[in-house]
Symmetry: D2
Subunit: 386 residues, 4 copies
């Protein structure tokens, strides 16, 4: 069985986000860190380090306009030269003064047009980079009851989504992201999986739901949503991160590793694991106080450990206990996998692949961080604004 | 305009639940109250009082098996004699030892069969009573990760729902209720509106979603769900009550009257108000510490007041402010209606209908409570168990 | 009785925060607005408008270093010339790169010293401006389990608070603010009222707790905390705002006006109302999408309306119903006051004081907003960063 | 180091609650289980099994009146004969119709007297059984705003607590428990640790706070409270259980094992571990759907595993990383302990103590469950009501 698990783990691919390598923060303060990239090329270089030490982070998500470049072919080639490739294109229709009252759901048709045009331009970038996935997150919503018409905003949303959907080419898809709140506080236009799902179903197969693990109300059972969307054939992927309270964007697996394990178990159980599943594993995090590249390496490792544990579950014993109504027995089968220390297995896996067994230590030894700190002096550090 | 509002208010109908007249409580204690009915006939008599004093509570929901009788025609006739009628039939598949691990989603096919048979029997009671609405709430879920297979439970749920759906006759429908948690603590099989919606869409037009206002995670915007379901044509009705934290089942409008107003505003705005809308207004409450009939009267009045305020919104001014992006102006239009004291208007409305202007005081003066306290001695008080 | 209520309302004073007049936003975007002040003097001018139209906003809180000036006497004189005065001094130890891992609780003693020195400098500004209140909010906390020692951070906090406490002069006090989360996500060093209370009790009478209405976990009963702190003699004041989910900083009374009423009722009932109570009513809000001066006027009016309703409660009838165990009767007494439309009373009160009855409309007619939009061109708009 | 850890683990004592062996459920249904005890003597027999197989559950908490007997000396002797002893006495002032509107905070002085007398009677039982700990949990609170006076209820609470405090003998203490909500829904009289703490501080050293891990609002950092109370010398003990949403009373460690580990780490770090610490580890759970004795064994093991991991933390390395501001390094030290599989260590520990290495399997093999199922026929099964 260990052989099968290792094979499955070797096939894993976790996408890191270009913006995780830039500065980030809260509304209170963005703390600048040394060595932070100044442009998309340097972000890719950092992302390539994560892949170099983990072996399972071969692609990098872009955020437009933060990662806008003149020549996407050059950017793709740069990535290839670093041993990585460009992944999902993330649209951004929330950082222009025009979007104060919304983007595609704005009451002003001029602004809606502008926002939709941006989304269409993102598909152009998909064409230019070979990316097959467009990720759509809308900060749209309202802060006060009555501020705008909840239903009219759905009509506008549907119209924009439909136009973008029709623009998608062969082999392209979009993932619609939902989020309970922030930056809108009273009502968000895509607040939950049900809303995203309903829009996707109306549009067709190329529209799927993406689950950001930090975007739910307290008490929400995320793995249930995962299981349900897989059953409906509508789970497009994950934006992984951790939260204790709101959308904290901490390192995935750092707040509730057991939850991450349960999610990965449902992914595997529901056929969402593996290259043919169409389920993308992406990180979406902010390293506000910790170093960024190391933070990404640790995060990738956390997903890998949760995956290994999920693959370890004795599904035969589990099914037998469940069928027998053996509550404690069934729970124990699951917990037995979770309680297992999979770090030796993963160290072995890495060694077999020619990697260092301990990616964190190996990265620290590499001197890369010191190098970029020394080199990246001057210029403007990348962040959410650029 | 006041004329229109009055006409709209005269057409309102709020259904009270038979179980609100019996004893209820928490897992810690059910406090017995004097005068509580001993059987469904006495429950109907109490419900008729609510209608007599408010004029807008003409129907009574039944709960099976709590309200099982030998002769439903006799029960219907009894209701008619009291000036009320039988409303929705509520199924109950959570109070038999067999349902410890679930009813229609139980791993044991024998128990699933038993549960589904109960649901079908409820449709028989609909036929016998002339009720057009079956309300389905499933307590099904699991307490521990791994206890049962989340996805298999959805398959079993879909199978049972399909069988019940096929049994529905002309003019009959079922409403599928969702609930975040309780009595299941780790995962509930119908935890949110998205799950209920997806099952209903697969089944067809006779399957609709019912929104219980106490069944959401903290921070959930309920009026958004109302607006969305109305847009999709899938809002079947409400189970009204109030909550501060969980499914507290307090008097509707007592915890957050502004939220109730916002919900009613979306109902009206989305075409969910009025006899032709198909949206049922039902109460689902527990009067654990307060008197039950008076508690129902107050609750009906709270819904009526919220409705009156919702009807008072100057929709023209609201639309204009929204279109202009006037955040404070649009909010002010809504708040102006909410801040209005509609009690004089409603007193006038009642007087015009030949009712006492103050239902609470009139009921207190009527001596009904003292009468039933004196009469209903001996026997077993109705409660959740009977 | 109306006479007494009017007298009480005339004595009300609500402090507006200088930072509410500058730009603000979320981590995603700060939307710039026209006419925003460029310096503390212009902020005071805007605040004076709020007082001019409401008559009950005579003081303005400062935030240091955002409102740092060379000559505080000149700033005080400027305020006096505008008909307002300087209120609480708010310290800020969260916007320096040094504070990435905390200010007064930072593991590095050099940074702790720097932070404490800033707090002491704020007392100097109190001396210079005649302010009697220092407001202490610490963003200090950690994002990851293990990141720092929870208990050692309390020791460091106690040490800094003690040093600041000893520096307070005659007639000066500090208010310690608590907050559940943000910007720290795993653990905040002053997360709840109990923590603030315990530190204050150890220090002495000049240390009191301030309640920010947006800083609690879901389900928290804020009016309970108010009642409890008043009973203990430790309620120093409020930072008023509204929230639906987290620390949304919306206009007070906009999300849950009933809650605001309940809070004001406990304030009045517990002796926290009136100039001698020592309980400061302060706003702490962000007008991210709505105009700022108008937003403050509306907020002040919302507090005033809630106060008027709280004063309207028939406390004799309430006490009688409570003593009799009359659940519905007691609740009805409270609701009767809440359901009253107090806007006519407040319009009358304003007219008697020589103010326009409708502050929002009067401000709009005044042309002030258009004037500052025209005048305040160039320079750097004030915001959280300056 | 392993030697020290083993020594520390050998000294651990976890108290199981008599009521965990009886039937329990939710307000919807109590599912009866086979083999359930009919009286306190049989409950002690079941509890003795938990101790027999784990070796670390030597005492059993009683709940009065559920465990009322004529002869407490006989009950104590029975316990001793089974190898266990009687632990904390839990008072119950929530299951009498008189307590509908509260017990010690009831507006009716007669009922307050009755409730306080019950608490005093519990101290009598402490004298009779040799128990040194009284656990006080009050379900007191109100369901509706205005229902009763929040502050007056605190006065009444203080009065009752003072009377009970004065009755405590040499070497006796009481633990005051707090709970956010349930069964009261609007306001609970002891809703949070701050309230319990403030009352205890006023009373003296014999009054301490007990932390029930299921009694907090979402997002509350429980280990912070633990650290804070230990720093203040006021942590009396734990009521351990797990929750996903409310007070679910699931097996401790089953919902969030990482949280349990963090709590145990703060206990150890703050001097709360070990027989001299005065911190009692108690379970307070309901096994609604799973078998009860096995559920208790599993729970005791979960606490033990979390303790072992907490003891494994390399505190020297942790302190060094914290002092250096090494966020990822410090977190990694903590996670390294958590990720360790401690089950082999614990199996070894048990073997050294003459126990079976796998308590769950050993208990299953013992045939005890089958034996009591066969023997305990007839009579009334114990539950919350008896």
């Amino acid at each position: 069985m260990t052989t099968d698990i290792k094979a499955a783990l070797r096939a894993q691919a976790i996408e890191t986000p270009s913006w995780a390598y830039g500065n980030s923060g809260t509304r209170f303060k963005v703390f600048a860190q040394p060595g932070v990239p100044r442009d998309p090329f340097e972000k890719l270089a950092d992302a390539a380090q994560v892949h170099a030490f983990t072996g399972i982070a071969p692609s990098v998500a872009l955020h437009i306009p933060w990662d806008r470049v003149d020549d996407y072919a050059a950017l793709s080639a740069h990535a290839a030269g670093l041993g990585v490739r460009i992944g999902a294109i993330n649209s951004n229709v929330f950082q222009d003064d025009d979007y104060r009252l919304g983007s595609v759901t704005n009451p002003d048709p001029r602004i809606r047009r502008k926002a939709t045009d941006h989304l269409l331009a993102c598909v152009d970038i998909m064409d230019a980079t070979g990316s097959d996935t467009l990720k759509l997150w809308f900060s749209d919503g309202i802060n006060y009851p009555g501020q705008d018409d909840l239903r009219a905003r759905q009509d506008r949303l549907a119209e924009a989504l439909s136009e973008v959907y029709d623009r998608l080419g062969e082999g392209q898809r979009f993932l619609l992201e939902y989020k309970l709140f922030e930056p809108a506080f009273y009502a968000t236009d895509v607040p939950d999986w049900g809303t995203a799902y309903a829009h996707c179903v109306r549009l067709g197969e190329k529209a799927q739901v993406v689950v950001d693990t930090g975007h739910h109300a307290p008490g929400t059972n995320i793995e249930f949503i995962v299981a349900f969307l897989l059953r409906e054939g509508r789970l497009g992927g994950f934006d992984f991160n951790s939260r204790f309270y709101a959308d904290d964007d901490l390192m995935v697996g750092s707040a509730d590793p057991f939850q991450l394990f349960r999610i990965m178990f449902e992914v595997v159980r529901g056929g969402g694991y593996g290259p043919d599943s169409g389920v993308a594993f992406m990180l979406d995090q902010c390293h506000n106080v910790e170093p960024k590249i190391a933070g990404q390496i640790r995060s990738v490792m956390n997903v890998q450990e949760a995956t290994a544990k999920a693959l370890l579950v004795d599904t035969g014993a589990l099914a037998a206990a469940q069928a027998a109504g053996d509550v404690l027995g069934a729970n124990a089968v699951l917990m037995d996998a979770y309680d297992t220390d999979v770090r030796p297995l993963l160290a072995e896996l890495r060694a077999e692949a020619g990697l260092e067994p301990d990616p964190m230590a190996a990265y620290a030894r590499s001197g890369y961080f010191e190098k970029v700190c020394a080199e990246r002096v001057g210029g403007t550090q990348a962040g959410w604004g650029a």
